[in-house]
Symmetry: D3
């Protein structure tokens, strides 16, 4: 029953997320020997103005 | 101090979420014997194109 | 596909959590009109020395 | 590698979040004696109609 | 800066998680065209008595 | 009602977390102009064998 939450900067296309979800599910099933139907993946699109590293928002970086 | 995070597909009305929050708080207080004010519930609306099961996005399903 | 994460202070018995999971699932299905099998609930037991309100850890309170 | 997720009501300006991220990172590095670059902070803006306390949504309160 | 949180039943060996983290990072970088160093993965081991599906704890299933 | 979840490597003393919770709450109230009692902070201690960056677990690093 692996459940994955993936946070990434907004702007990724549905196609990219679809491709990524398929690839991550495949690898998870291969390594953990589980059924694909047991794997849930939820993407969260994060705005650069909502994510800081080192105290600086990514929207403030070049 | 139970805190609940509930992820569900977007599209649920505020009325449904209000009804659900009231019901879940009531049951939580009944079972755990705590005060209603101690229960926090946060809903997260998830797009079907952001949730995959079995490697397939829910937006791709019929 | 509602997925719930519930954080609560450690010390609740498996019986209480089992009772709570059953009750919350029932109410969720009633309000959202979904199948029980679509509801996932994950409990996280939090130590009082890991939870602060108002800047004070719960392990420091009477 | 402290990673913080901060949920707050929507409506806070980017400037406020920027100021808060800088302040929290500074305090975290001071107390934990770590490098600023090791601190990640992700803000989540929550609508008042998605947050309940005591079974009542914040959008229903005065 | 993709950050992944993976919840899975406790009992997986460190070797399995290590193998999975490497595979998921590789696939993420391939699909999203990002640097490996930008990918963080955090595993959370969940007890079967803390995870319910359909209102039934996994510790109660055969 | 800011709620913070802070993930950090296990091994930090209760005293350090207590000091950090007090400092973060103070800064949050100063910047957001809210009451201390509105701020919840939950720490999650993460084992180095459960956290990977760049596909390598922190337990594997020097």
């Amino acid at each position: 029953m692996p459940t994955m939450h993936i946070e990434l900067f907004e702007g990724r296309s549905p196609e990219k997320k679809r491709e990524l979800a398929a690839a991550l599910t495949k690898e998870t099933c291969r390594v953990l020997e589980c059924e694909p139907g047991a794997v849930d993946i939820i993407f969260t699109d994060v705005k650069r103005e909502n994510w800081a590293t080192g105290g600086v928002m990514w929207s403030e970086r070049d």
